[in-house]
């Protein structure tokens, strides 16, 4: 390992620009002639549109134009789509209701876009948007997914009777029922997974530029996957042909899933730029973000877990209702199905599992993937159930888990996944040691002396990262392949540019991807540049989400580097009149093993391009690309332990200690991995203690600003104790697994288990606000 290579705590190359205010986010972009957009949004959760009158708005200062859904429809711009087809258990396809980028007949949630105003300034655009008169005829509203399924409720889409999108199942229902009937003990629980807003600090923004001279479109946008945005906008929405559309996602200020999807604003601003003849920029404000960024989670579940007399789990039965909001967002259908039910075996050897999932339309903002996407929901359900079962069975939570851990690999679960490697006991032991589990009783007694209730809770999670073999996801309904691409361009003087289809929005790819190159070639990290986020510069890509950048994106880079190295060795062998099998690459040179002969890297690169002295038939140049399609998911896993104190007088919970012990396989940059875990834990603690998107019965969003939606602040969180153990992933060339989501997956159940332990009442829903905890603490179990 070189100083900059794999495993080194290299400080990030990208930090300087962020620290000096030189980051370039979409809202920072300006182009000549640029104008500003504001959207007219529905104040009703459900209504028909009887008419739109923009006369007054058009006459206001600075207004260029006001455009609505009828014009969009006339120009042939298509509906937004959901890209993952799920079939109900009766074989029928999911019921996809129409989602117009600008609603033309019906609005279905507060914030649904109705029209766009383009004006000289943001303020003038917003003023004029206020002046657009929309004649709404309000309709009845339903926001609760359980209620929405009942007869006689408001119907959102004619395609979906009783608002049911699909009724899907996975696993063997009969086997589960038999095991439940024969069980020595059954633990039953009702689980709510609260609706969240991802809240990246950078609000979504988009700048649409139509160039009439070349009939060409450019879209700057806050996206986690610009290539997918280009594909979907051209192939499905008819905004622009793929060969005339460039999508650029420059610096992006956090995504957490919410910037995976294609939103109406990207489509509409591009279209509006062509319509008005000026570049059009729109930037969300925070209230718009709460109203329109895809939300996360929102499950209601019942669970039954069967045990035999030896405390072994014999079956798991799960019934989940998932609220998908008013429309089906791009990946929404796979989140509560193949990203959720397939992880319900957790770290445990469970012979029989059956999951039934119903997804439902309601008059709320669309719900889609948020950090973890299905895995946090599965882990929360499973780990709350394990903790409850341990208490019912009179066992320590660690003992029950140990009894049921998967211990031999590969392990085929009854719900599709084939775990490739892991050591769950090692993570559990590491976490318990770091948390001083055995000393808890004394700490609890000390806290009781101060009138405080102290509790400890654990959670053992597994997730599936690195989505996934294209053929496998295709067979499950995915609309795209989930490979990744990379191109390595060795410049004439030996410096290197890597073009990757992965996208960095905080993960530090400019550093970690460069570390891989530095490691392989022995070059200084400053001689390596990572290029991403621009469909005109990078050949192809599928973007960054689901912790796939290391396992899939860097594996593609490793494959491209294989080709670069092979060609470089050919050239060097020729220059030194040696056999290419004797050439080794190290310390920035190509050497003949066992001799003192060597050619510096830069000299080999120059030779590749001067082409004066290449092996006969070898193409000049040194630029190689590769696609990588993963052989399997990767399976990071770990154990999280949380210790809390609850003030019985106020119900306020203080997180005293938070320990994470993760197995991420091989690690490229431990500093960055730790940072990812910290951030994930913070979002998990946020879900468990503070955060919840709330609507009232009329569908008005009650949590539409940071005054009402409780984001975790520095004082809400402790410092974290993190560690890693590493069983390498056998299915990719780097042995990496993925670390971006673990914290958000593992932490909510650990925290809720700790609070329920402290207050002696297992009935508690997230977020565990002081009011709820106080009330629960009064009653006991």
């Amino acid at each position: 390992m070189g100083v900059d290579g794999i495993g080194a705590r290299v400080a990030r190359k990208e930090d300087r620009r962020f620290l000096t205010g030189k980051g370039r986010y979409t809202d920072d972009m300006s182009v000549p002639g640029m104008k500003y957009a504001a959207f007219v949004r529905s104040p009703h959760a459900h209504a028909t549109i009887a008419g739109i009158d923009a006369t007054a708005a058009r006459a206001m200062p600075g207004v260029i134009d006001v455009l609505d859904g009828r014009q969009l429809l006339a120009d042939g711009i298509g509906n937004l789509i959901c890209g993952w087809m799920i079939h109900s258990k009766d074989g029928s396809p999911m019921k996809m209701g129409a989602w117009r980028p600008l609603a033309d007949k019906t609005v279905r949630y507060v914030g649904d876009a109705v029209a766009i105003v383009v004006a000289d300034s943001v303020a003038e655009a917003r003023d004029a948007a206020e002046a657009v008169v929309v004649d709404y005829e309000p309709l009845p509203v339903v926001t609760d997914p359980v209620q929405a399924l009942a007869d006689g409720q408001p119907q959102l889409h004619p395609e979906a009777a009783n608002n049911l999108i699909f009724d899907w199942e996975l696993g063997d229902a009969a086997a589960v029922d038999r095991a439940l009937a024969a069980a020595a003990h059954v633990t039953e629980l009702k689980i709510f997974n609260n609706r969240l807003s991802p809240n990246p600090m950078e609000p979504r923004a988009t700048l649409g530029i139509y160039d009439a001279g070349d009939d060409h479109y450019t879209c700057y946008t806050t996206s986690q996957n610009p290539h997918l945005a280009r594909l979907v906008m051209s192939a499905f929405y008819n905004v622009a042909p793929e060969n005339k559309l460039r999508v650029i996602a420059p610096d992006v200020g956090g995504g957490f899933g919410s910037k995976i999807y294609i939103y109406p604003e990207e489509i509409v601003c591009l279209w509006a730029s062509k319509r008005t003849g000026v570049p059009v920029k729109w930037t969300s404000d925070r209230t718009e973000a709460f109203l329109t960024d895809a939300h996360g989670r929102d499950h209601v579940s019942t669970v039954k877990m069967a045990f035999d007399a030896g405390n072994g789990i014999t079956a798991l039965k799960v019934d989940t209702i998932a609220n998908l909001g008013a429309y089906m967002s791009l990946f929404s259908s796979c989140v509560p199905t193949y990203l959720y039910a397939t992880l319900l075996s957790g770290q445990y050897d469970i012979p029989a599992i059956h999951a039934n999932v119903r997804t439902v339309y309601t008059n709320t903002v669309p719900v889609d993937a948020y950090r973890g996407a299905g895995r946090p929901e599965a882990t929360y359900l499973l780990e709350r159930t394990m903790e409850t079962a341990a208490r019912e069975l009179g066992l320590s939570p660690a003992e029950l888990r140990r009894t049921n851990f998967v211990r031999s690999f590969p392990h085929q679960t009854p719900v599709i996944m084939n775990y490739d490697a892991g050591d769950y006991e090692a993570s559990l032991d590491a976490a318990m040691a770091a948390a001083d589990w055995s000393g808890f009783a004394a700490r609890k007694a000390e806290a009781e002396g101060r009138g405080m209730k102290r509790g400890i809770g654990m959670s053992c999670y597994i997730e599936a990262c690195g989505l996934a073999p294209s053929a496998a996801v295709g067979s499950l309904g995915a609309g795209v392949g989930l490979w990744e691409s990379a191109e390595v361009k060795v410049n004439m003087v030996g410096t290197i540019e890597v073009m990757t289809g992965s996208h960095s929005h905080g993960q530090g790819h400019e550093t970690t991807f460069a570390q891989l190159v530095a490691d392989r070639l022995g070059l200084p990290i400053d001689s390596i540049n990572i290029v991403h986020g621009d469909t005109d510069k990078v050949q192809m890509g599928m973007g960054t989400y689901g912790s796939r950048s290391g396992a899939v994106g860097m594996s593609a880079l490793a494959k491209a580097l294989d080709k670069v190295e092979a060609k470089a060795k050919k050239i060097a062998a020729h220059l030194m009149e040696a056999d290419e099998s004797d050439i080794v690459i190290e310390d920035g040179a190509l050497k003949v093993a066992g001799t003192d002969k060597s050619v510096p890297w830069f000299q080999m690169a120059l030779a590749a391009y001067t082409a004066h002295n290449l092996p006969p038939g070898l193409e000049p140049g040194l630029k190689e690309s590769a696609f990588y399609d993963p052989a399997n998911f990767t399976f990071p896993a770990g154990c999280y332990i949380c210790e809390v104190e609850v003030d019985p007088e106020t119900g306020r919970t203080t997180v005293i200690q938070f320990v994470a012990a993760d197995d991420f396989g091989n690690i490229i940059n431990p500093m960055i991995v730790e940072g990812q875990v910290h951030g994930g834990i913070a979002q998990g603690i946020g879900q468990a203690l503070l955060e919840e998107v709330r609507y009232d019965d009329s569908g008005q969003l009650l949590t539409a600003s940071y005054l009402d939606y409780a984001m975790p602040r520095a004082e809400d969180l402790p410092s974290f104790t993190v560690s890693t153990s590493n069983t390498p992933c056998p299915n990719n060339p780097l042995g990496v697994k993925g670390c971006g989501e673990a914290g958000a997956i593992g932490s909510p159940p650990a925290l809720i288990n700790a609070i329920t332990d402290a207050i002696g009442n297992n009935q508690l829903t997230m977020p565990a606000t002081a009011e709820k905890v106080w009330a629960a603490a009064q009653t006991g179990n």
């Binding site: 962020f18 980051g23 609000p203 610096d251 925070r286």
Partner: protein
């Protein structure tokens, strides 16, 4: 419309803007200094923190006209002669940033916090002082570490100079 003159990062600047223009928009749109960010519309997130006459302020909660005649420092004015300010350097060394969007506001808040408390800062004080800044990426763990490290270093420098 009003013509406004102020000193920004040591240089006198002026511009014409609406009476209702907020300082943050004046800095970003009129002056082209886009390091100062807008992350919310209720003055909760702190991505827009700058220094006004030496004190940290949320530039989304002040009209540009109110700042006329004052001395403003933005994130672009912190590094001197290409050398990162010790707080910037500490954020880099301790991985106190990920997506970088809240970072300018965090750094400006931290500089003012250290100016007021120096090496007396401890973890609890730093967390309390960050009440007005939200980070969604880092869990604050490394931000707190970075600020304490910078406070220690700057406090040491100050003592040495005295």
């Amino acid at each position: 419309m009003a013509k406004i003159t102020m000193t920004v990062n040591g240089r006198q600047v002026s511009g014409v803007c609406d009476d209702r223009t907020l300082l943050v928009h004046f800095i970003r749109e009129n002056l082209g200094l886009t390091g100062t960010h807008v992350g919310c519309d209720t003055s909760q997130c702190g991505a827009c923190v700058v220094h006004m006459d030496g004190q940290s302020v949320k530039s989304c909660s002040i009209l540009a006209a109110q700042a006329a005649g004052s001395a403003i420092t933005t994130i672009e004015g912190l590094a001197q002669n290409g050398e990162l300010h010790p707080v910037q350097a500490a954020f880099k060394a301790h991985h106190g940033l990920q997506c970088g969007f809240c970072t300018p506001g965090m750094v400006m808040t931290a500089v003012d916090m250290i100016r007021r408390h120096g090496s007396a800062l401890d973890e609890a004080m730093v967390r309390a002082e960050l009440e007005g800044n939200i980070c969604r990426c880092t869990g604050y763990h490394n931000i707190v570490k970075a600020i304490l490290a910078a406070a220690h270093e700057m406090g040491g420098v100050r003592q040495a100079a005295e």
